[in-house]
């Protein structure tokens, strides 16, 4: 099916997943305007959200199945496999978040179904970011996502820390948006367009002016803020720590994924021929991996440890960016599937353990969990091993793919730094397992109220099962990621650097 983006009907078709989700968002808004008091309303809103996300994923699937292709002139929207696959990622991540939110919201007395509306709007923003073939669309998506997430971060109105998190996130996010917008303006000034394909052609033809490079640098800073790369990561631990736990899971996975998806598209399609960013991203990746891992090593609170570890994982993903190859884009997708699953699993268990008044769950507080809640401990152990990148889990496959992308681009040193950083990460992931399995309980009732409701149990079980299955049999996922990765490419008109051999074929 080829879609000509200058024809309104085709534009609507190309926007089908976004339109479906928008429609549901409006329906849900109407619903919560009438029904927003009881626990039942909250649950209904939650289930409606799941239906909304599912139908959106189906819409994306329909376009993928019909092999939607762009035709004619470059439009503002990308129509490629990368977009559909990332759509599934975002809706999947949001659905897992919704599933672990059910019990959390009720327990923390956050009886406001608007939560789910914000979740949907944030997801919509992410989808637009991944779909943007134009810097303005990406910026709009980013703002839609960010504003919704600012509110979500401060959703626990009675908690001062949640408010602090929202304020910090808002202030720094606004700065990041400013950088990004200024960068876009400079790029527009240098090339006369905000369309990525046209920028790519211009860069390919005319080399790069100072204004363009300055714009690119500001753009990178803006994205680095959003993905929490060192040294732009300062907000991340406080925000992740203060926000309600399911929101933290959503931020660590979805928000970061969306920013990375847009970054991949911008760099590959627009700036493949402006080599300057490779060096910058290389260093950014190194300091992020090293910094994130060493900072995480010093944390005793589980939530803060996961926050810093998510900084470290942004570093691993930057290695995929630095490779500057289609394999890197594919590796990003595989890694993100794994990362979403393992983060949601870990945060769900953390949410089950946390209680009002003690939002700080220390790693040592998990002592002896394995004897009381063997399945929960097993789930968290699998998530930790996967985060560590241990063979047999999806986290390993993702890391392996990133290493393949890096070594195929000849960046052996970066690959070596990545694995050494992973060794450091063993120093904070293993103590979690150690506490659960090897230390005695603090008291007989230490874990008496650790409990997951049925939706959260489904989410955790599905995540753990998927982690193990993809860890042993990732073939389908790899093929999907590869076609998606190949679909993001520099414009054909520009001179393309000599292709390096594809990995593994």
């Amino acid at each position: 099916m080829s879609l000509d983006l200058s024809v309104p009907r085709d534009v609507l078709l190309a926007l089908l997943p976004e339109l479906v989700l928008t429609l549901w968002a409006l329906v849900l808004l109407l619903f919560v305007a009438w029904r927003h008091q009881t626990v039942r309303d909250l649950r209904t809103a939650g289930w409606l959200t799941l239906v909304a996300l599912l139908s959106t994923a189906v819409a994306a699937w329909w376009l993928w199945w019909n092999q939607a292709q762009p035709a004619g002139l470059a439009g503002m929207l990308a129509v490629d496999d990368f977009r559909w696959v990332t759509d599934w990622l975002f809706t999947g991540g949001a659905a897992l978040t919704a599933l672990i939110s059910f019990a959390y919201l009720e327990r923390e007395q956050l009886l406001a179904p608007e939560y789910y509306v914000l979740l949907i709007f944030a997801t919509l923003g992410m989808m637009l970011m991944a779909a943007g073939e134009d810097l303005m669309v990406i910026f709009l998506g980013l703002e839609l996502m960010s504003v919704a997430v600012y509110v979500l971060a401060g959703f626990d109105r009675k908690s001062p820390r949640s408010a602090e998190a929202a304020l910090k996130y808002f202030l720094l996010g606004a700065f990041a948006s400013g950088f990004l917008l200024y960068g876009i303006a400079l790029i527009y000034g240098a090339t006369g367009t905000t369309n990525l394909t046209l920028i790519g052609v211009q860069v390919g033809l005319g080399g790069s002016s100072v204004m363009l490079l300055a714009g690119l640098a500001l753009l990178l800073v803006g994205f680095a803020f959003k993905v929490a790369a060192v040294p732009f990561h300062m907000w991340a631990p406080d925000v992740y720590d203060g926000a309600p736990t399911p929101v933290t899971a959503f931020m660590a996975t979805g928000v970061k994924a969306a920013a990375f998806a847009a970054l991949f598209r911008v760099l590959t399609e627009g700036f493949a021929n402006a080599g300057a960013w490779r060096e910058i991203v290389w260093w950014l990746a190194v300091v992020t991996m090293v910094g994130g891992n060493f900072l995480a090593l010093t944390q005793r609170s589980l939530k803060r440890m996961l926050a810093y570890s998510s900084v470290a994982h942004a570093g691993y993903l930057l290695v995929a960016v630095a490779s500057g190859k289609a394999a890197g884009t594919a590796a990003f997708i595989v890694y993100l599937v794994a990362y979403t699953l393992m983060s949601v699993g870990a945060f769900a268990v953390l949410a089950a353990k946390g209680r009002r008044g003690e939002s700080d769950v220390l790693i040592d507080d998990l002592a002896g969990l394995a004897t009381r809640r063997p399945w929960l401990a097993f789930a968290l152990a699998v998530c930790m091993l996967s985060l560590l990148g241990f063979p047999g889990t999806a986290g390993f496959i993702g890391k392996w793919y990133i290493l393949i992308a890096a070594t195929s681009a000849g960046q052996n040193v970066l690959a070596a730094i990545l694995v050494l950083a992973s060794v450091v990460s063993a120093g904070y992931y293993l103590p979690v397992i150690m506490a659960m399995y090897m230390k005695p309980e603090a008291s007989d009732t230490a874990h008496a109220d650790v409990w997951l409701d049925r939706p959260a149990r489904v989410a955790v079980a599905a995540a753990v099962a998927a982690l193990l299955v993809f860890g042993v049999w990732p073939n389908r996922l790899l093929e999907l990621a590869k076609t998606a990765g190949d679909s993001v490419r520099p414009p054909a008109a520009a001179p393309v650097p000599p292709p390096a051999p594809p990995p593994g074929r």
Binding site: F390, A416, R505
Partner: protein, 494 residues
Amino acid sequence: MYARWVLTVLLVWPLVAAAVVLFVPAPRAKYVALFATLLEFALSVPLWWEFAPTGGMQFVADYAWIAPWGIHYTVGVDGISLFMVLLTTFLMPLSVLGSWSYITKREPGFYALLLVLTTGMIGVFVALDLFLFYVMWEVMLIPMYFIIGVWGGENRLYAAIKFFIYTMFGSLLMLVAILVLYFHVGQATGTYSFSYLHILANLQNLGNVAPWLFGAFFLAFAIKVPMFPFHTWLPDAHVEAPTAGSVILAGILLKMGTYGFLRFALPFFPTVALSETVQVLIVTLSLIGIIYGGLVAMVQPDFKKLIAYSSVAHLGFVMLGIWALTLQSVQGALLVMINHGISTGALFFLVGMIYERRHSRLIDAYGGIARVVPLFAAILTIVSLSSIGLPGTNGFVGEFLVLLGAFRTYPVATTIATTGVIIAAAYLLWALQRVLFNPLDKHENEKLTDLTPRELAVLIPLLACIVWIGVYPKPFLTRMEPAARQFIEQVRGK
């Protein structure tokens, strides 16, 4: 039929059994585990006869696994890995039997981990695909980590994490090296594959990355062996691990390091491995291991630590034999690998048995117990003598062959290494004297009970092997000879 499936069955069966063990009532777990490991051993025994003493891989099975990356499930054994597989399946039932009364809490978990560990260890020895090898190499870390960390001694958490991080540190750099090899060979031949034989056959013109790649493999294996400066995890892990854990660590896990040198590091990078610098480095480190390991063993107050350091010394002989690259020395190194598994395994069992009775591993806590437990004393003496390398026992054949073969390549180093045998006699005989023969001056030792039939069932197969290899090593030597020759040609020939 047997030839095609045996290795796969050996890999899958322990996993199935582990799942069963987890769900049987706790008191039954050990019976199921014993049955499973005995069946595993029975399945592996025909390998001994079916194996044709020629070069090359046998019992090969090959299936596509992760096709997009050219990863296959490829397994097979040659004259090097055959013995390692048999040693593993032989030691596992004994380890289960040896844990019979030692492990009293969370039994199903313990035995399930032992079985998963079996799969991991056999997988490392039979893998002929570098991805599969790496996966197995890491997978066996987790069960061992739990075995030390959950069922270990007082300092178990420290020992467990040290063991884990040391091993992981080395192996992750190896992972990058594997990927670099994959792309190098892929670009040269157009076939991107992790197949061991494919990479081995087409590895040329590595240029100046070769030393780095060798370094990465070296680090992974040297930590595992362990060679001198990387050995500090070993005493901790050995001492804290429960008996079965120590036996498996010493008996099999350490052999993975030397096996890695034989299988990967030397055949892949012969020019680097035979360069002057690396030869001097390896020989020096081996000698330090032999001498320093022995001297440190001598002053250990803890019997288990003494055995742990003696492992460092024994593995030094293996490394010396491998690098000397003569037929006798390589065969000797392989034999020492087997012997060390048997003798040191038996020593750890014996220490574990006396620890169960007296709850002390300190040598000073005993004295004169030969009068109380004569059977125990007799067996401990025989096993110690075999560990020292007394003629007529297995230890003699292995170390003699290593020294004989290595003398042709490194005469000075071999002469120095010979003193290692004397040091071994010193620390073990001295320890024997203090434990078994001095006056029986501790009141608590007067009521010790002698070995039970179950404990004898653990030790007698090991004793039989000690005598068999000591008196008639020919069946072993003929089976390993073609593989050893091939190995030497591969390294020397390039």
